[in-house]
């Protein structure tokens, strides 16, 4: 065991919420360390910033329905955060993308209006703020050709186009051949090929032969990982028409771009990120957490700080666990949970599309999103109770706003506790 490492704040979790909290703490001048078992939700999510897609009917303007939504969902993170916190977090995100490592890459849209973007199966999914590389997919546009390749098993263009037609989009599909050196190629492998200008030019040449006049082109989300803006604008230029990406099965290329942007913001501001560092225990003093210990390859470490941000996720990451005797635990700090069904009530129900009783379980928080049982632990992201983000289309809105809120809380209170030297 080495000596303790001291920070102004320690963030647990490197999904969107944790990276946002870490980056904003660092930007605010705090010495911050983000600890994580591994990469988080970014690599699984579509890479769009969904604020509120369904409530439960399709939402056309998240800003427009916000007040009504929080009035009917008083336990929802949005009810605690408020509309302005969400708006501010989105502005920060857009600016961070623009200042980030992916030259020219931008997000477009905002809280006033959800765009409807095709999914890989051909449903239309509402999103508030989306990568420029996806924006032209909005269902309000005209003719579209969805292009797939047999080399990518994770995208099926004909099914996507067929469902889009059922939804009133004038869509057809085409297939292109892409040569790969192993059969099980995923979108990331193909994105790396798209980063190569010569390879891309050749592909655009073949693709242009398949297109009809006035068609937009939808491709699986694989248009570059290093330089997505360059890849996308080059393709639009070469094909002479709007081109857009459609998110598909993980690993998510657009999600990995988000990760890269947020990680870079954290590092640029002087914050630290330690991956492969699972928190295995924590020390407390009364109602405060004093330190956490991580177990990683080679050695254990102890991180002490006056503030902690719990952004380790919910059941999906394993940070909240339901055991085989049907007891629920928060595994990082052992904090109490909110929303757990009573012992004699069902945890899940047999109707696949019904809301599951366990769906809204999260770490119990006060109105400031502080854990009820630990004064200096702020909770962010999927660890929060009260939301069903995968059904509501609210995951990134909650993550951005709560991660930002946690950072602001710590920065506002940072004067109080004495920061020990590292």
């Amino acid at each position: 065991m080495r000596g303790e490492l001291h920070y102004d704040a320690v963030v647990v979790g490197a999904g969107t919420a944790g990276l946002v909290a870490g980056a904003r703490l660092a930007e605010g001048g705090a010495r911050v360390c983000v600890l994580s078992k591994g990469v988080g939700s970014t690599h699984l999510a579509p890479g769009t910033i969904d604020v509120l897609g369904y409530a439960p009917g399709r939402v056309s303007s998240p800003a427009g329905v916000f007040d009504e939504f929080v009035a009917t969902h008083p336990d929802h993170p949005y009810a605690l955060l408020g509309a302005e916190a969400v708006a501010e977090a989105l502005r920060w995100f857009s600016a961070t993308v623009a200042a980030g490592p992916l030259a020219g890459y931008e997000y477009v849209g905002g809280l006033e209006h959800n765009v409807l973007l095709p999914t890989a199966v051909g449903a239309l999914r509402p999103s508030a703020l989306v990568p420029e590389t996806m924006a032209a997919g909005d269902a309000s546009g005209e003719h579209v050709c969805i292009v797939g390749t047999r080399s990518l098993r994770d995208f099926h263009a004909s099914l996507c186009a067929a469902n889009l037609r059922r939804l009133g989009v004038d869509a057809r599909s085409a297939e292109i051949e892409i040569e790969v050196d192993k059969a099980d190629q995923n979108a990331l492998g193909l994105a790396r090929k798209f980063d190569d200008p010569a390879w891309r030019a050749a592909l655009a040449g073949r693709l242009s032969l398949k297109l009809q006049a006035h068609e937009r082109v939808g491709l699986p989300a694989m248009l570059g990982i290093r330089d997505p803006h360059g890849v996308w604008s080059d393709l639009e230029h070469r094909l002479g028409r709007p081109v857009f990406e459609i998110p598909t099965l993980p690993p998510s290329v657009p999600g990995m771009r988000v990760y890269e942007i947020l990680r870079s913001a954290l590092r640029r501001a002087g914050g630290r990120l330690v991956l492969g560092a699972e928190v295995v225990s924590s020390e407390r003093s009364g109602s405060r957490v004093v330190s956490v210990a991580t177990r990683s390859a080679g050695h254990d470490s102890v991180y002490a700080a006056p503030w902690f941000v719990l952004a380790a996720g919910g059941f999906g990451s394993g940070a909240i666990e339901l055991d085989s005797r049907w007891a629920t635990h928060e595994r990082v700090f052992g904090l109490p949970l909110h929303g757990v069904p009573a012992v004699d009530q069902p945890r899940f129900v047999g109707d696949y599309l019904a809301e599951q009783p366990m769906a809204r379980v999260g770490v119990a928080v006060d109105s400031q999103l502080r854990a009820t049982d630990a004064d200096n632990v702020l909770v962010a992201g999927a660890a929060l109770p009260g939301a069903v983000p995968w059904r509501e289309g609210s995951g990134e809105g909650i993550a951005l706003a709560s991660g930002s809120h946690a950072a602001q809380m710590v920065l506002a209170g940072a004067g109080a506790p004495a920061g020990a030297a590292a």
């Binding site: 098993r153 339901l322 995968w390 995951g395």
Partner: protein, 528 residues
Amino acid sequence: MATLSTDVLVIGGGATGAGVAWDASLRGFDVVLVDRADLAEGTSGRFHGLLHSGGRYAVKDPRAAEECIAENRILKKISPDSIEDIGGFFVTTPFDDPAYADVFAKGCRDTGVDCEEIDPKQALREEPLLNPAVSRVFRVPDANIDVWKTVWSMARGIQERGGRVLPYHEVVAIHRSGDQVTGARARGAATGEEIDIEARVTVNASGAWAGAVADMAGIEGVRVLPGRGIMIAMNHRLVNTCVNRCQMPTDGDIIVPIRTVCVIGTTDVNTDDPDDHTVIQSEVDAMLDDGEKLVPGFRQARAMRVWTGVRPLFEDSKAADTDSRDVTRAHALLDHAERDGVQGFVTITGGKLTTFRLMAEETMNAVSKHLGDERPCTTKTEPLPGSEDGETYRLGERLGRKESHLRDEQLVCECEMVPRSKLEQAIERRATTNLDDIRRLLRLGMGPCQGGFCIYRATGILHGLDGLTAEQADDSLLHFLRERWKGVWPILYGDQLRQARLDDWIFHGVLDVEHLPVASPQAETVAS
């Protein structure tokens, strides 16, 4: 209305019915096999996958034990492609009566079940996760069997010999002319169209549903007591040998490793309705505790799925009505000419998977007499299609194939290593839009991710190949998700809950399947 005419109509496409139809085909009779659902979709496909050595019955039911060991040897010869010859242990745990071990050893000797006592230390070397407190261990020739593979091999063999196999054809009436059963009427689930099947002999091989089918023929008093049991599949093989508690058969006393998973079974609860698949929570909890007795730490392992199967137990009036395990496991062949004076109708029910071939042989011996044309049975020696080389299945076969085709063979399902070419062949061969049918053929979506990654891919491939409409493809996708969820939610905890949440993010967060366009009213009318 379409009509078919045949020598033998078999009602029920489980292992027994398919076995009867296969036996009939080999004897050179023309045959039609019908099932209300997919082949081996009922009891046959809902057990733990054990090919019995007979050890389990050596004390309690010596005749069943003798049948099991004989059939175990035969099936390993004729159907090796669907059998993995992993062997079995009977172990005395601290929870078992130590005196039973010697009774067990004697029972095995008396019934001819190969049984060798081994040093518990040796057993622990072979199975390190086994309870270290086991005091006696016996090795027996248990194995596992992929029933869907066996049944579909027979179906292929039947078709190659000109027989007709009609899954999703439910019998809605049995035709009688006086004292003669003359066939049946079946309704196709896909189209609603009915066909009349004229048969010289009709075989009722509908297992737990045999009473209802006999009723349709106007034959009373065929009573089958359905005994429902639950099985739980763990996400990997905690043991590589079938492990049985060395005690009188009871709940949760066996773990069967099969393919990539292992299955613990089972319970036994009387039920009135063989279609009742309710999973009772207390049974799940008890089963997990039973798992701990054989493999300490069982509750920390990842449970993937739970399901129920219904045993067809032919009622013996002398048995108590309270525990269906006391009803005979032996099969019952009812020749209704002798029993009821009704010609051309035979019922076979009861029994167990391991003895399906024997049941089929006895049934066809009776049927041959009805046909007045007694031909010899050859199922003991004739290998099933796909098993001609005599090689048993080995775990790692699929991985071996994949590794030699890294460049050109795309995997659709990584968990069960199902390549795209196999999926395409299966879709073509089965001409089905039901991904659950494909699952039974290929084990698609049966691994740890429970379809999270493969089902979108398979739906896309199905849509492209079969020229399905988007409605049909969406229905297939949603049907699969609903079916999977049935077996997932009653046992969702630990890492499987993490997986389910990832699947939620894929199907809702990324694909938004909930908001696929709904089927048009016309399409719904056709389906009903």
